[in-house]
Amino acid sequence: MNKTINLFLALSFSLLTFGTFAQQPFTIYFNHKVGNEVLQLMERSYSNSFGEPFIVNRFRYYVSNIHVTDINNKKTVIDQYYLIDEADSNSKTIKLSVPNNRIKQIEFALGVDSIKNVSGVQTGNLDPAKGMFWTWNTGYVFAKLEGQSDSSHIASHYFTYHIGGYKPNENAIRKINFSIMNREWSNTFSINVDLLKWFDGNLKLKINESPVCHVPGKLAMQIADNYSQMFSIQQ
């Protein structure tokens, strides 16, 4: 008899717990675009706002430290590092599990926090073998945009932007923040990512003038400021 009561109590307790902490799936899609066109690697030629033609060979970036806030101001922090890579379509979908309430805000960091830059060798998406790591000057490359353009005056007309930097005076980590209250509720969420913003922001980045950025520093921080504007919610 006692056993039955215990079992009943345990069951109801677990149900109660489950009810309080009930989760829902929450999916974020990243749609890579160049202006209004869909990004296609190596296939199509695009043009930036300075009329420079270019093709894109590689486009990758780290999304980390995702914070999701629900309408009760409850924050869920997802302690994961996602490497979004145009060449790997699975990587462009992030599947999360969040509290079962309407979500009003989503924030993430574009880059990798300083702790992970100074704590030795990591694994998973932060494995240095992923090619997003400077070996000679330790640190993660937060975002990479590589391609070719007739406006570039370096070998094979390449342009290569490898943006990173975690030290206080070189900090290229950028926070991205969306309020999603003004749209119809759905637990899937599409973010448009416009590559043209890399070139045109506070910094006018002309391929002709700067075809290469491979070190942390002023130019990298300016490009990071530019590309922090590349995200927008698909309505």
């Binding site: 100074v118 240095p128 073998a129 790591f133 070996t135 000057n137």
Partner: protein
């Protein structure tokens, strides 16, 4: 019914076996030895505890040419035990496809006390340091994915990774942590100098005179017990026309860091010639000549040396006698640091 029983029995058996194999993962811990009077190490051993199996695996990797693109260049091909893990008698080292490195291979010793790596300090953790030479086209010329693919074909490695880390998976992190474990055991603290400090030996007269001069003229930048303060300094070595190596400036972007390189440790200095970040000094005598005569100070040259050092021929002789007492033959011949199956690192490890 009988069938069901047999199936249940098998499931139980497999479960027991799996938990037993997991349970049996017990690598033997190794206590890191801190020499008397030395400070606490900087390396965080909690995140990578030393074990016999981990060190053994790290040593195997350190001596394995498969970490390079063509199989010819192990870590040990440029870091030779008999040269205190520098490249013996080479200004620059040989790498993949007949290339040369752009800097002199430093001795590897007492790495648990080192905060930043490379002569420009660009690498901030021992666990990520080996990635630089493995992937550099003038050194081992390989990429990490290929290294992992090659190691996976070797059944012996699978066993060693399992023994060191609990499962057979091979990844960058485990390779690097194992390499760190081995490299952390490269402790040199048993030279004649150390024995004198411990009261187990005494200097002969020239060594003692050299030690006295050393404390007056050298130890601001080369303080005991590491014989380096780990700082970066411009000592008036003009830039090499061919290498155009500006040193620390490349890392910080600061003009004031122009031509600054890390102060090297002087431990085992007698076996690690040539000297200087690019090996331009053939012998210790050339180093002394630099400090007393040849240096070309610029506006960023260190204030401690910019007026050159007054050194007589007598003093140079005595300093040399003292510096030779920093040779630690028990380190250079320690069989535990030689490749598996050898008492000391065989000379053929250097075949370039």
């Amino acid at each position: 019914m009988k069938k069901l029983f047999i199936i249940t029995f098998l499931v139980v058996l497999v479960t027991v076996f799996i938990s037993w194999t997991n349970y049996s993962f017990k690598p033997k811990p190794v206590k890191f030895f801190i020499p008397k009077e030395w400070p606490q190490p900087i390396y965080d051993f909690k995140r990578n505890p030393l074990t016999e199996e981990g060190i053994e695996l790290g040593k195997q990797l350190f001596y394995d040419g498969r970490l390079s693109k063509d199989g010819n260049f192990s870590c040990a091909s440029c870091h030779q035990q008999f040269a205190a893990f520098s490249t013996y008698e080479h200004n620059l080292s040989h790498g993949y496809n007949n290339s040369l490195t752009s800097r002199n291979a430093p001795a590897l010793q007492n790495l648990a006390w080192v905060k930043e790596f490379m002569q420009d300090g660009g690498i901030n953790h021992l666990d990520v340091q080996p990635i630089a030479p493995i992937t550099n086209e003038h050194e081992m010329g390989e990429n990490l994915d290929s290294v992992i693919a090659k190691l996976k074909t070797d059944a012996a490695y699978k066993k060693m990774f399992k023994a060191a880390f609990g499962n057979e998976e091979i990844n960058t992190q485990k390779i690097m942590k194992a390499l760190s474990q081995f490299m952390l055991t490269l402790v040199s603290a048993n030279s004649k100098y150390d024995k004198v400090m411990r009261g187990q030996a005494s200097f002969i007269l020239p060594e003692q005179l050299g030690y006295d001069i050393f404390k007056k003229k050298c130890s601001s930048c080369h303080p005991e017990p590491f014989f380096t303060d780990f700082s970066y300094r411009n000592i008036g070595m003009p830039v090499d026309d061919y290498l155009k190596d500006e040193g620390r400036k490349k890392i910080t972007g600061l003009a004031s860091d122009s031509l600054k390189f890390r102060v090297p440790s002087l431990r085992n200095v007698a076996v690690s010639a040539p000297y200087g970040h690019d090996g331009r000094f053939f012998s210790l005598y050339n180093v002394f000549e630099h400090y007393r005569k040849n240096m070309k100070p610029d506006k960023y040259t260190d204030s401690l040396v910019k007026n050159k050092l007054l050194l007589s021929n007598f003093e140079i002789g005595q300093l040399t006698a003292f510096l030779y007492t920093l040779t630690d033959s028990s380190f250079l011949r320690n069989p535990a640091l030689a490749p598996a199956g050898y008492e000391i690192t065989p000379i053929f490890i250097h075949n370039h």
